[in-house]
Every structure is written in C-alpha cells, then in structure tokens.
Amino acid sequence: MHNLTIAELVKGLQNKEFTSVELTQHFLNRIANLDPAYNAVITVTAEQALQAAAAADQRLAAGNAPDLCGVPILHKDIFCTEGVRTSCGSKMLDNFIPPYNATVVENFEQAGAVVLGKTNMDEFAMGSSNETSFYGPVKNPWATDSVPGGSSGGSAAAVAARLAPGATATDTGGSIRQPAALCGISGIKPTYGRVSRWGMIAFASSLDQGGPMARTAEDCALLLNCMASYDDKDSTCIDREVPDYTAGLNRSVKGLRIGVPKEYFSAGLHQGTEQAVRAALAKLEEQGAELIEISLPNSALSVPAYYVIAPAEASANLSRFDGARYGYRCEDPKDLEDMYCRSRAEGFGEEVQRRILIGTYCLSAGYYDAYYGKSQQVRQLIQQDFVNAFENVDLIMGPTCPSPAFKFGSKGDDPVAMYLEDIYTIATNLAGLPGMSIPCGMVEDKPVGLQIIGNYFDEAGILNAAHQYQQATDWHVQAPEGIA
C-alpha cells in the first residue's frame, strides 16, 4: 500500500479496496519499524490517528467524502496541533502543547485526512541539513550517511521512505524544495499568501510559506487543494479563489516557454547535477516546450540579502521565547535578566542563536540602512528580475540546489557554505513566487532535483509541467534501497 500514490489511495479508499484504519495502521507500522533508522518523525500520534481513521471510514461509507478523507499524512512540527506537542525542532518548545490548530492542520482535519505524527526539522526551520534539530539529525533514506536537506528534512525523508504518502512542510529560503531535491521527492512552495501562516511558527514572516511534499506532482496538487485557503486570521493571506490544482494537470507542454537562467548554471554547480538538469530540460523540449536562455542579473545578491532579512525578522519573531509564559525556562533564575539570558542560551541551539545575533546586529542603530535597508532594495531588484523574465517566459527552470546530498558534518563548521545550499531557491522567497522541486536524475546514487519557478499564483502551471514531465519519466517512482 505504501507504494501507492495519494491519487491511488484516494481511489482505493473510495472504492473500499482498503479502509483508512488498515492504511493508517500500515503506515504506523512502517514508522515504528523503519523510522529509527531515519529519525524523520519526532512525535507519533498513533492513537489519535487510528481514531481519525475510524471516523474517516465512517465518512467514506456515508459517501461524498472529500478527496483526502482517510489519507494518512505527517505534519512538519512547525504547524501547531491542538493537544499535540509542537516543538519546532527546538529544546525551547520541547514541552509546548498548543491549545489551537494551525489553519493548515485545521484544513486537513476538515477534509478527514489522518495525521500520523509530526516530522523532524531544523530548529525553528533554520538550516539546510536538518543537523540543527534538538531531536538529532534526520538521515537521508537514499544514503544514511548524508543529510536529507532542510529545514523540512523530516517530511522529505518520511515521504521518500514511504512512512507517509505525503507531508506538510514550510519554505523560507528553500526548505521545501531543497530537501525534496535531496530526498528524490516532489514538493511545492506556493506563492506567498496562498497558504495561511496562522499557527505556523514564524521564522521570517515575509518569506515563510507552507506547502506540500509528496512523491508526485499530482499528489502535491491534491494536497495543495486542501492546504491552500484564504484565512482572515493571517493578514498577509491573499483572498483569491483556490483552483482545483488537479484539474489542469493534463495540458500538453507543447509551446510552453521555459526560461533557463544562465546564472543558475554557474561555477559551484555540481557537474552531475548540471547534466541531470540539462537532460530534464531536453526531455521537456522533446515534449514540445521551448527553452529560452534568460538572465536574472541580481541572482548573486539573493543569498546576502536573504541572510540579512530573514535573520532580522527572526530576531524579533523569536523574542517571544523568553521563558516567561511557555516553553523552556532555565532552572532557578536569580532575576529577570538571568531568566531571559539563560532560558534563551540554553533553550536555543547554536544556529538559531547565530541568526538572532545576525538579525539583531543588522537592525541596530547605525547599521540598519547599510544592511536591512539595502537588503530591501536588493529584494526589489530581484523581484523585478523575475517580473521582467516572466514577460517572455511561462516558467523558469534550473537546478534546485548546487549538488546532491552531502555527508553529515561536512559543512558543519562553515555556515556560509551551508547558506549557499539555498543559492537557487532563495530568490523565489524574496520575490514571493511559487517554486517546486521534482526528481530528475541520480548522481552518485543520490537524487537530483529540477526546480520549476512560476509566476504569481501559477501553481497550476508549475504542477502541470511537473506532471507532464513525470508522465514521460520515472525518476519520481524510484525508491531508496530496501524501501519499495
């Protein structure tokens, strides 16, 4: 059953080929048996899952159940789940049980999806390797000595290892696309404002966006149908009808104009990765798409601009974790300042503290204009690059990340090398554009991701191209050894 896609599971459930309880138990067993090797899941909610599955089976029996009714999924542990610990991968929130659901969680609950548990992640979504999690690193199912990517590494690894057919994730600078690429699955970061951020613990509010991960583009479309919604609890959510993303998947790519930014094929790109991506582009060309070389001239500025804006926002967003009302508090604080200092020094990991310090510095009197102010200007330039490009092309494609999954510890001492992991993904967050990664080849027995960037709210166009590519290729059905 774990090799079936969500689309197939939906059919199987609705045709009563199996029950949600059977399906749920199957995935719970897989998590219990296999996850000790991957550490992808922080919290398993077996009892609630089986109850939800039983309820879903009743709904299915009554007929007219929503698509996802009875389908098991995992939530990234950044989404608040009522009554279930939501840690954000941090010691700071190891004891935090929210009294409310994130809107995303609520949407899946309404649809009758079954939540198996919460996935591991880089602490507060800060990381590209899942090595910053308080709960230990997640191992890449394709090569357990290598990282799964981050920050949504737990969700990506879980989907790759078939511990769940789909999972929620979030993307601030590449945190859906990069782990999807490294784990050989599909994942889409929608347009900023498409998915509600209510109940999604903030890293960098102007960049954070939730999105789904699954093995196929079609499954991502099914999940996004449920995940995307207008929410008046999130002021930055955009009130725009959510289309049926599965309805537009069968359009031919004939005549599709694909922009290929030359800046995305520069030095630093792994040769094998480049070959796989070029081959994927050739495949699409063969299917009738037109490849057009374009330039995104300010691409090189995206990483430095991001590493000012994101930490700046994070430095304020994480101020609420002060030991006063919830979360970690140090033992026996002598006074208020001691409580603040030690709770935060002990509750936050090194990378989180690094980014809070960077952000605090960038916003300080005398530095604001040179860092934050300048970065906002750069952000506008980057956005304008994309606006210009989309005058001539329908989609933009290139590599998701510079190289396949790297080994644990290999970038641990060099934050900048780690930050460059997101060199191709960050610009879309700065511009607020939707982007996706789908598997498009293997290098050194590790998956390579093809990134597809669309215009604002053209998730349907991205998913269509991805689906068309997947109809003609089989990278997305391949499984790590011992998994299928």
Partner: protein, 485 residues
C-alpha cells in the same frame, strides 16, 4: 538669570474599541488578571495579528478633529525590547508612516487669550500589559497581568510649543476634551485611559538654542503633571544655576510621594531596532472612508462652546467649562431640555454637582443625581417652591437616593410658604409676641433700625420652620414695622 521653559507632550490615549488592536479579546477595564488575554495577546507561537478597523477609524477621527493630514498609507513597525509585560518582545507601533500627520490644537488660557499648539503626528500602537510588583501573591515574584496588553492606543506627539505648566495642562485638558467629545476614548484618567509623557527643557530667556531635555513618563492626572513640570523646571534651574548641566534622561514622578527620580539616561536607552512589521499589510485609507468619518464626526468642543453661548445665552466662560467634557456637556443639555432654565442648569451642573462628584471622585456619567432629577430640582427653585438653602438639602437627599425633588420636598415637608396672607399673619403674630423687640425697634435711630430686622426675621423663619419665603417676609415685615412708627 531668567529662564524660558520649553515643554512638549506625548499623550497615550486608549481607544474605546470593544476589542484589542490585533486580537478579538475584550478591552473592558477591571477584569480578573489575565482573563482578557487570548493566544495572540499572550504571543503564543504561530499566532498572528489582525488589525482592528475601528481603531483605525478612531485614529482618523482624531486626525480630523485636529485638522491634520491623514496618512493615505500608514505602516506598522516593530519596536524591540524585552520586558515581561510585552509578550512578543516587541511592541507593534508606527514610526515612519504614522496614520495622523501634522495638525493643530487651540488652547484657551486663564487670561482669556488663546494659543495654537502644533501636533507633530499621532500614531497607532498597542498597549503593554501591567507588571504587579506587590500585592497578594508571593513577594519573591512579580505578577504580570496581560489584560491591557494589546489595547489600542494613539500616541499624540506635540511640538515643543508650551512654555509653562499652565499651557501644558490646558493642552492636555483640550486633548482630553477632544477625544471624549468624539467618543474615541472614555477619558477615565484613573483607569489609565490617558497617560502623559512630559518633555521639559529650559534655556536662558530669549535664547534661540534649546536646552537638554528630560522626559518624565507615565503621568496619569493633570494634577500630577502640573506638579511634575513645576518640580522639573525648578530642578533644572537649580542644576544650571549651580553650574551643573542637564543630563538627557527619562524620569519618573510619583504623584503620591511627590518624589521624582531618574529612570535611565540616554546612554542606557534601548536600541529599539525598529523595522516594518512583516505580519501586517500597510494600512490604506481611502478618500471615501475619510469623507464618511468626517460626515459623522461628533461636535467638537470649540463648536459646542460657541453653540452653548448662542443657544443658551451662557457666558463664554461657562460654555467653555461645560463643553470641555462631553459627558458634562451632554448632562447639561439633558438638564436644560427638561427644566428650560439654562442659567440654573449651568450653575448647578458646574457648581454643586461637580463639587460633589469631585469630592466622591466620580465621573458625571456615574452621577447619583440624574439629569432628570436635577432638572426637577431646578424647576422647584425657579418657581419659588423652595429656597436656595432648601435646594441644597433637597439635592443632598436626591444624591442619597431619596427620590425626585418633589418626592423629597413632600416627604420632608419642605415646601416654601409664599402665600402672602399666611405670611402676613405670621409676621403679625411674631410682632405681637415680641413687644419688647418692637419697642426697641421704634426707639432706635432710623439709621440703625435696619440692623434690628434680622432679629425679627430669625423669629419668623423659626415660627415657619424655615419654610417662609424670605424675600416676601422681608417686604411684609418692613411694611408692618413702618406702620407702627
């Protein structure tokens, strides 16, 4: 040496919205601690702010009341600092693009002159919670009450246009009058609905260069503000005349103990690291929205004062006092409508009633004497049913809850006797019973006789149990005594 004082004010005005500026929690005053703080106010992870549209409208109304430019696009910033009563670790406020731009407020001074005070801007922001450092809980800990956290405020920032405490108080009272008149603030100073930060500096008389200023924060009464300004001016003069220099600092003034002290110097000041709040979109105000609010803007104090002079023939002074407080103005008009005697209504509202309310520390909205009851009393004064002295007794009885003026007059048998026949009989009886006093009167020099009248008056009033109409008795007595001469 003579010194000039320069004063600027920052006034925090709590807006009278039902819910908080970024959450749906109630803003009602006086609830049990932390019962009116929702997940957003507690800054629970993943929660997000949604701007209260009524707070925006109230801020715009204030802008219209002071004839200010309204920012078509205003934006919220985060002001970062750690304090337990600030759950997010930042205050959401406005810095670069406030909703209300420059405006003007005219104040009236004691000598009858007026002065224009410029408003630099007014911006929207959220209030913090309260830290409770003493009370019923364990003294090793401080308590935090987050009921107030997230209450909408406008902070009104004046230019340094005031030159003494009198002007500062007049300005503060005028702002109080404006915000209560347009209904955007309940004006309850004792509940912290308005709080003042006072910036004070001095400079040698006539000098163009401003001196170093200090800021005294969080004054919540006009009286404390006046004391704080006077003390601070005196302190600065002392320091400079002793050859010292003023340190730029934030100060606190304790109105109970009358002690002022330094809170922090400029060097210790926080770097607030303001930056645009990414959780909130810029606030776009349309021309239609402004026009609609302008159309429905309640009467402003100045316009009301002019109307009171015109409509009720009140003096400028009386009209000014009555119109300065919306609740008092409404009360006065309600009294006048029932009793049709604006002069007496004004005198009683500003006099006996206000004095009594002040003594009991009550707002006019909570007056034990309703406008209708006061009007009933005035009707009986005007038709001579009761004397002024009786009226005070009746007023006290109404205050004590004994019912309407007529009910009190009946119950206590206070009706004034104005029947001239009955009064004449009383005078005749008293004169007959006091032949010695009558003889004494007759034998006294004409110039000194007037003084003797008081004795007869006392006897007559006593005989009438105080109910005789004194003016009438006076006339009858004079006539009767003259006949005996």
């Amino acid at each position: 040496m003579n010194w000039d004082t320069v004063i600027g004010l920052e006034i925090h005005v709590q807006l009278a919205t039902k819910t908080k500026i970024f959450s749906g929690a109630s803003t009602a005053y006086g609830a049990e601690p932390n019962t009116q703080a929702c997940a957003i106010d507690l800054a629970m992870p993943g929660t997000l702010p949604v701007l209260n549209k009524q707070a925006v409208n109230y801020a715009i109304m204030f802008g219209l009341a002071i004839d200010a430019e309204i920012g078509q696009v205003s934006a919220f910033e985060r002001k970062n600092y750690f304090y337990p009563d600030l759950p997010k670790g930042y205050q959401t406020t406005q810095l670069e693009k406030p909703i209300v731009g420059p405006g003007n407020v005219e104040i009236q001074l004691g000598d009858g002159s007026t002065k224009n005070i410029r408003i630099h801007h007014a911006h929207l922001e959220e209030d913090a919670g309260k830290s409770l450092h003493e009370g019923s809980f364990n003294s090793r800990f401080s308590g935090i009450d987050l009921n107030r956290a997230g209450t909408p405020l406008i902070e009104i920032v004046s230019e340094p246009d005031m030159t003494n405490a009198e002007e500062a108080i007049a300005f503060a009272k005028k702002i109080h009058s404006i915000v209560t008149s347009i209904g955007i603030c309940d004006g309850e100073m004792s509940q912290g609905s308005m709080r003042f930060d006072v910036n004070v500096s001095i400079k040698p008389s006539g000098s163009e260069t401003l001196g170093t200023r200090t800021e005294t924060k969080n004054l919540n009464s006009f009286k404390f503000m006046e004391e704080a300004i006077k003390r601070e001016v005196a302190r600065q003069i002392d320091v400079l005349e002793d050859g010292g220099s003023i340190v730029q600092e934030t100060r606190l003034y304790n109105g109970e103990t009358k002690v002022a002290r330094s809170m922090r110097s400029k060097e210790e000041a926080n770097d607030y690291r303001y930056f645009p709040c990414p959780d909130l979109l810029p606030v776009v105000v349309s021309d239609e929205q402004v026009a609609e609010l302008r159309r429905n803007l309640p009467e402003l104090p100045d316009a009301r004062q002019a109307r009171f002079v015109e409509q009720y023939s009140l003096s400028e002074y009386d009209a000014g006092i009555l119109s300065s407080d919306a609740a008092m103005a409404n009360y006065f008009e309600a009294v006048t409508t029932v009793c049709s005697n604006a002069k007496l209504a004004a005198n009683w509202t500003m006099g006996e009633l206000s004095a009594r309310l002040n003594n009991e520390d009550l707002g006019i909205a909570n007056s034990p004497v309703s406008a209708e009851q006061l009007a009933g009393l005035i009707v009986r004064i005007a038709d001579n049913s009761i004397s002024g002295k009786m009226a005070k007794e009746v007023f006290e009885a109404i205050w004590a809850g004994e019912g309407s003026a007529d009910e009190v007059i009946d119950a206590r048998g206070l009706k004034q006797v104005s029947d001239s026949g009955a009064l004449e009989q009383m005078v005749v009886d008293v004169l007959a019973a006091n032949q010695a006093m009558v003889d004494d009167y007759i034998n006294t020099d004409e110039a000194k006789r007037k003084k003797k009248l008081g004795g007869f008056m006392g006897q007559i009033m006593k005989a009438s149990k105080g109910q005789a109409n004194p003016q009438q008795v006076n006339q009858i007595l004079a006539k009767k005594l003259n006949e005996l001469l």
